[in-house]
Amino acid sequence: MIAVAVNSLSVRAGEKRLIDGISFDAPQGQTIALVGPNGAGKSTLLRALAGELAFGEGTILLKGRAIHDWPSHELARHRAVLSQNITVTFPFTVAEIVKMGAGGRMGRDIDTMADAALADVDLNGFRDRIIGTLSGGEQQRVHFARVMVQLACGEQAHGPGILLLDEPTASLDLRHQLDLVAAAKKAASGGTTVIAIVHDLNLAALMADRVIVMGRGRIAADGRPSVTINEQIIGKVFGVSDAINRIPPDSQPFVLPHLAQKI
């Protein structure tokens, strides 16, 4: 089953084409990493998939229904989004933020769900802390837990959903990056379709079944990580050479920035 179908999507800002005729299908349960240089259109694509953007050309079907035909409260039960750099001005506690994901539902099962989500991001003892007193990485993990609660609530009622992540590992330390990758993989194994912007190519290869490499608003390569992360594509899109080694036994690509040369 196709969870997300993008067909000839173009997004413009004035004269500039941020997204230039992109098409791809995301089957249910697949984990897709969007990679590419700054300004390639990854965030714009993710915002379009989230339903935030008006776009002139092309279509996005989410579970077979055009993205803008979904009322926002229904859409929220089928797809969850983790944005970057969320600041919370008011003194909400960590638990209050995480439970916001439950869409207004309350009760013991939501408490349990929130506690489990906090445990998954290694924030067990933090539930009564004011979110503003946490570090940037800890706050990011709180928001990931909130998004996972939203996803879980939606999936209870409507089956596997769609999880959109914008650089979910950006401010996380190594250990919590691995936690997050594990959480995303666990969700995908349960049928969730995961689409994530990832800057670290090695992490993208570790996390995703499929890597879509974007450059200048188009798809430069699309396929399994071992196929899409290669010298030719990375050279063309990022403008660097000699960055990739292959790790046996299955010759997974491994990017070593200190070996890379600017082209």
Binding site: G51, H73, I86, V88, T89, F90, R129, T133
Partner: protein, 373 residues
Amino acid sequence: MSDTAASEPTAGAQHNKLRALAKGPLLFPALIVLLIAVAVIAAAVGAAGIPVERLPAALGLTGYLQAHFTTPGDAALLDRDRLVLWSVRLPRIAIAGMIGALLAASGAIMQGLFRNPLADPALVGVSSGGALAAAAIIVTGDRFAASAGIALPFAALPAAAFVGSLVTTWVLQAIATRRKNTSIAIFLLGGLAIAALANAGIGLLVFIADDRQLRDVTFWLLGSLGGATWDKVALIAPFVVVLFVCIPFIARGLDLLVLGEAEAFHMGVEVERVKRTSIVLISAMTGAAVAFAGVIGFVGIVVPHLLRLAIGPGHGRLLPASACLGAILLLVADTAARTLAAPAEIPIGVLTAIVGAPFFLVLLLRQRGLVGL
């Protein structure tokens, strides 16, 4: 870094204990008991005092209460008490309570809408916009009405204050919002500019006003709850009802808006609907408050701030609690305003600013760590 880490657990634990207490089911009963107590005191004190033991009789409570708790006064005294209570004090208590509720709730809603604990309709010029419109009606309305040969309707002033507040909020929103994102800095600075502009307009109107108009305009600018009547009570009451009806529809939206407009949308909030409802509500409530009591500042900023520290920032409880505490505080302020310098009255807007501004500063200094901007 190390000493913040060391001092945080104790401060946090204390804070949480307080919050746990205030978060319990007793909050609203406690607020309502406090409101009634304050109302009884407000009813008893004033230029013509009515001792508490004579209150039940004056209120018209008979039977058990009267037999057990009141000393039989002479009939003339009872008549005087009744007159003072029913035609002066009770409508004034009702109006003070309702205006306090509207001011505090509109402050809380505006702060939620703009994700900014410093937003307040009085601070960012929404009240000034309403006052400008009211002043314009006071100074020029009579002339227009006279030349048209009609009497100015009673509702013209409140209607003008409402429209003035609405237009000001809308302009502010338009200035501060770009590509669906509301800039907090632009919003505050724009609000200051709008307030300055409205105040300049008011200054101009003061300049061309005659003596009687000048007195009326001054009333709007300094704030007063004098001249309360049951007619006015009946006009303000619907706003309070509308507020409480709307709270369940906007509370969750305002909570999620704290994360940002895009995030609120991701979580299923119809952002534009919440914003529109909130703006109309803020304008209507501020407009009503300005129309009947003039510009009264700091209630909208101090009350929600205090409550956020005590019961947390969730709007489902914050908004009704703000309304209750706003009613209590403005009732206290008004009672002080009319008794401290009796028989003269201190303008209540002056009083709330004298008490509210330093209080707010102290609050800011003590809670600097918790108030992220």
